[in-house]
């Protein structure tokens, strides 16, 4: 039904709202690289090693969730046709909470300090609550329901489950509460990757890949059913893992998830091979790398489900492929469209479309492709380092840190370009669009 008050295609939030998230994220990626360099092979020995837990959460919370939260606050008003209430305040709270909470969590793991883990649990729990309330408020007032907002809702629900499971684990680490169920150790990362990151990426990809890269559309059955079906199977698999661990039901449902997400990644790769836009483009290459790693991670997970016993190295390899290979690559690719576009968009509202430098003048192809090469090398080194940690773990960490620094530099260049030009070029005679500038 139409609700004119909620109609706000124009109400994109001020550029500072998403930018602070995007510019903080590389710092946490750098921190993950430094943890690998500092701790070396120990960080890749097992996914439960303190250094591995610290590095993992720097990537998942400090980088992935940081960017995804910023992008959601930016996109939600636009795609739902409804503003996020008090968006500047909500953004400041969420950004501060994620920054402080992630630093405390990583520090708690590295230093073995339960107090820091307690602080992290409280801060991150509260932060996610604010994010969920902000998103829910906008979605509740949405002018229309569409596939993207549905997918986003499920993704946010996935985040809630991830954090709830994380708090169960934190109760064990920080407060010494006996773990209610061993399954929580497997469910927490699965919900973070498949629920939160996977569903949000899929919901966005169904729209963004065909439109921005001019590929054929995803099969109708996939766009219509994937997010809802994946969410449903994820719940069923979780219940099986919790109440019927190592049962055939758990195995079959787990395999269904691996096959389903693998099919999504494979479909995306096939569509991208058939894209109409043939120009060289870092974003497309980042997405291809990300989807290939997602498919490999799904294959690895399927093997892990079928083969019983200790397989610490395979588990670490799956994590490396899913985090550095899939999530970081896809997010890097998105950032290289979002940040230069936001800079251009706000610039042209200030100085007029004719005088605003286009996106490739704001950030050229070359620095993006340099980053792509270093990032791809870091992913490859990380995967090989799982099998050959001495001396590769530290070298891989160094490559990851370098990739983070290049990303940070590139985003700063784009963000400063927006400010420098806007500062010197205000032209009062130029367009009506000026009133939209923030």
């Amino acid at each position: 039904m139409m609700r004119p008050a909620g109609l706000a295609l124009e109400r994109a939030p001020p550029i500072a709202v998403p930018l602070r998230f995007f510019l903080t994220a590389p710092v946490f990626l750098l921190a993950a690289g430094v943890v690998l360099v500092w701790n070396g092979p120990e960080a890749l020995a097992s996914r439960a090693a303190p250094a591995a837990l610290a590095a993992t959460h720097f990537v998942t919370l400090g980088f992935m969730t940081m960017v995804m939260a910023g992008a959601m606050l930016q996109m939600l008003p636009v795609l739902a046709g409804a503003p996020v209430p008090q968006v500047a305040t909500a953004a400041a709270l969420i950004h501060a909470g994620l920054t402080v909470g992630t630093a405390a969590l990583g520090g708690g793991f590295l230093l073995g300090r339960p107090l820091l883990l307690k602080v992290a649990a409280w801060v991150l729990g509260a932060t996610v609550l604010v994010l969920v309330l902000a998103a829910a408020a906008a979605l509740a007032r949405a002018a229309v329901r569409n596939a993207t907002t549905r997918g986003m809702s499920l993704g946010v629900a996935g985040l809630v489950v991830t954090v709830a499971l994380g708090l169960v684990l934190a109760a064990t680490y920080a407060w010494g509460v006996p773990l209610a169920n061993l399954a929580a150790r497997a469910l927490h990362p699965a919900w973070g990757l498949l629920g939160w990151a996977g569903l949000l990426v899929a919901a966005v990809a169904f729209q963004v890949v065909p439109m921005f890269q001019m590929t054929p559309r995803y099969p109708d059955a996939m766009t219509r059913w994937f997010t809802a079906a994946a969410f449903g199977v994820l719940i069923a698999w979780s219940l099986a893992a919790w109440y019927a661990a190592a049962s055939p039901v758990e195995l079959v449902l787990g395999l269904a998830l691996a096959v389903g997400y693998g099919a999504f990644a494979g479909t995306t790769l096939v569509l991208q091979r058939r894209r109409r836009r043939r120009v060289r483009d870092a974003t497309t290459a980042f997405w291809q790398l990300g989807m290939a790693c997602a498919a490999a991670a799904c294959a690895g997970w399927a093997v892990r489900l079928v083969v019983p016993g200790e397989l610490a190295a395979l588990e670490v390899a799956i994590g490396v492929l899913a985090l550095a290979g899939f999530a970081v690559s896809v997010i890097d690719g998105m950032l290289y469209k979002i940040v230069p576009f936001l800079a251009w968009f706000h610039l042209q509202a200030e100085v007029g479309a004719k005088r605003a430098p286009h996106m490739k003048k704001i950030l050229g192809d070359r620095p993006q492709l340099v980053h792509l090469a270093v990032h791809a090398a870091a992913v490859a080194l990380l995967v090989i380092a799982v099998a050959w940690p001495e001396p590769l773990a530290r070298i891989a960490g160094l490559a990851l840190a370098l990739a983070a620094l290049i990303l940070f530099r590139n985003l700063i260049v784009a963000a400063r370009r927006h400010r420098a030009d806007a500062g010197q070029g205000s032209d009062p005679g130029l367009p009506a669009a000026h009133r939209r500038a923030s």
Partner: protein, 144 residues
């Protein structure tokens, strides 16, 4: 009822095809062919924007009484697109393929985020408000 949404989304894709031709030709260094494709794209784009600005938007504004709501913001973005299309022509005239490709990338992001807003939100509202007169309003697109 999704007559407007379906027709207009299909026309977005048709415009994209021509845009893709122009960009691919410029990327291959064939500027004359890029010029022809750009002209075809500009014509398709104008026809699409015309249907919105001359038929759909005014009818929507009459029905709902919202003159400076979402339709006004879409018009502003249409103006920005036209400006970039003019700059694309100027880049071709200057024989500057790199400039053309940078502008084309910018136009593509602007155009696609605009289309996303229309396809995900606005067209659904148009169908809801104007469903009964959709065929008449879309006549300029359908009977070409």
């Amino acid at each position: 009822m999704s007559r407007i949404a379906e027709t207009m989304a299909r026309d977005h894709a048709a415009c994209d095809e021509r845009f893709g031709d122009a960009e691919a030709a410029a990327a291959a260094g064939d500027l004359p062919r890029a010029g022809e494709a750009l002209a075809a794209f500009a014509a398709a784009l104008e026809r699409h924007l015309g249907v919105e600005e001359d038929a759909l938007f005014p009818a929507f504004e009459r029905r709902t009484g919202m003159a400076d709501g979402p339709t006004e913001m879409m018009r502003i973005e249409h103006g920005e697109m036209r400006e970039l299309v003019r700059s694309l022509g100027a880049a071709l005239d200057a024989g500057d393929a790199a400039e053309f490709l940078g502008l084309a990338d910018t136009l593509n992001v602007l155009m696609q985020q605009h289309n996303l807003k229309e396809e995900q939100v606005l067209y659904a509202l148009l169908d809801e408000a104007l469903g009964d007169e959709a065929d008449a309003l879309l006549a300029a697109l359908v009977s070409k």
